[in-house]
Amino acid sequence: MALALSSGEQVGAGGNRSQLTTARIRAAWLFLSPMLIALAVVAAWPLARTFWLGFTDANLSDLSQSQFIGFENFYAVYDGEAYGLLVDPEWWNAVGNTLYFTVVSVALETVFGLVIALVLHANFKGRGLVRTAVLIPWAIPTIVSARMWGWMLHDQFGVINAALMTLGIIDTPIAWTANPDTAMWAVIIVDVWKTTPFMALLILAGLQMLPNDIYEAAKVDGVGPVRVFFRVTLPLLRPAIVVAVVFRALDALRIFDLIYVLTSNSTDTMSMSVYTKQQLIDFQEMGYGSAAATLLFMIVAFMTVITLIAGKLRFDGEGER
């Protein structure tokens, strides 16, 4: 990722040039200032306020009456009993749900995305149409896809239960979104359906950049297609897949709307974002909810930094593209 960033234009020597460069750098900061100001006022400031509120007992109904309480939202002991986020089983349940959802859905999306990308990369009649069809789930708003699948997974009138019963796979209808055993899977199914196209497109773009001559060489040597896939395609495709997986995983960690609409505030599927929103808005616990938001931010930031460091090291080692 860092590679393209360092390839700036070369500015030649000469006093006149360097004066020009200074002028251009000044212009650069001028050009950046609207964005920087906007981000500072409407992103950095709310983020800082959220951190601060996490250390107060603020309540949504009256924000002016908040007091600094230190780490009590995170951890506090009264009469030998521990309170706070760090010992809240519901919070850890939400963390566990989010991680489970992220790992399973991203893994499935990668596999399906790879299959679809390979199909779209093949030369066959009607490929354009198939690509168009595959884009449809991506184009459908998340809320709409949550609703559509909510209806298809309906326990009494859902088409999926009807189909499975007709085929004799199940005898009684399953309450997909309400049953604790299936609720998370319902969420995963919808997410995989909605975001696999994105994964497929990114992997397809990677496939299209692969050099053709390697495949011709493999053909000449009589290497079978399965071997070619595992020995040539997959290793060459790895950078594209890694980038796609990172993007999807960071996106999955913040999941809110799909879960909120499909299963509302059920603890079986509650993600970190749903938990935080519930504390903040539904329970009006601005301080406690902000503390949860802070922890969520820390977790995602931690993972982003690790990915960026890992990505930078590897990409720099590869040299210019």
Binding site: A27, A139, P141, W151, F157
Partner: protein, 275 residues
């Protein structure tokens, strides 16, 4: 013979993919034309063609207003963030300055950060500005949400414009602003359209802020309206109407995406792969 088996296996895979991609939307469309007890039918073919659900959401519910709200919010977000992003992405793509790599990394990270992390601070800001429960109160947070993404995608497009054009303009003594206005903007239209479209879709789909910063149905955007659509009783969701509303807002987006699919694919992959 072997080739035949291979081909039929391949085409069955293609069929499965197309079916899985298209069926849910198809089923939403046929459900939206069913009303009353028809709704309980699980037939896979259209059984009736009834506009009741559509008239219901527009006449008995302010769904038309909701659509207008979404259009206003998403359009404003596109215009504002493109205006800010054009100059910013020129600086990031074409001028080498100290800290540029770090700034690009920060922008990418910000675009991936969870919205909920700034929810309470944003709530406070929105209230203190007096724009709670208004469209302005949705445009402000949505712009910030989409701005890093817009800058990032535009920067990757901006990098691809040949250096020679810019150098010629510099030699002619053009200022940086003139270069953007006279040299880059005319060349950037396709990129601006693609980026604008992706930003529009992002803002159109935004849910958390729209849910949190509005109270009354008249200022709600489409996703919130669909999520909160309620029926006669609390326990009975009006599925027919929900599907009608879903189809109404999805058809234009799907059509847009299909028309611009090449551009969109280019924009999405530019934002991710080349980053």
């Amino acid at each position: 013979m072997k080739q035949l088996v291979k081909n039929s296996l391949f085409y069955s895979l293609v069929l499965v993919i197309v079916f899985a991609a298209v069926f849910p939307f198809y089923y939403a469309i046929i459900t939206s034309f069913r009303s009353g007890s028809e709704l309980f039918s699980t037939s896979l073919l259209p059984t009736s063609f009834n506009w009741d659900n559509y008239t219901g959401i527009f006449v008995e519910q302010p769904f038309g207003t909701n659509i207008l709200n979404s259009v206003i919010v998403a359009t404003s977000v596109v215009v504002i963030s493109l205006a800010i992003a054009v100059t910013a992405s020129y600086a990031l793509a074409r001028i080498p300055f100290k800290g540029r790599g770090l700034m690009l990394m920060t922008i990418l990270s910000v675009s991936m950060f969870p919205q909920v992390a700034i929810l309470s601070g944003m709530f406070e800001l929105i209230r203190s500005l007096g724009v709670y429960n208004s469209l302005t109160g949705l445009i402000i947070p949505n712009t910030v949400l989409m701005l890093p993404f817009t800058v990032w995608v535009l920067t990757t497009f901006m990098r691809e414009i040949p250096k020679e054009l810019e150098e010629a303009a510099i030699v002619d003594g053009a200022s940086s602003f003139t270069i953007i206005w006279r040299v880059f903007l005319p060349l950037m239209w396709p990129a601006l359209v693609t980026t604008g479209l992706l930003t529009f879709i992002g803002a159109w789909n935004e849910f958390l802020f729209a849910l949190t910063f509005t109270l009354s149905n008249e200022v709600r955007t489409v996703p919130v309206a669909i999520a909160l659509l309620s029926g006669a009783s609390e326990f009975e969701l009006p599925w027919g109407r929900i599907m009608a509303a879903s189809v109404t807002v999805t058809v234009p987006i799907v059509v847009l995406v299909l028309i611009f699919q090449r551009k969109i694919v280019a924009g999405l992959t530019a934002g991710a792969v080349k980053g």
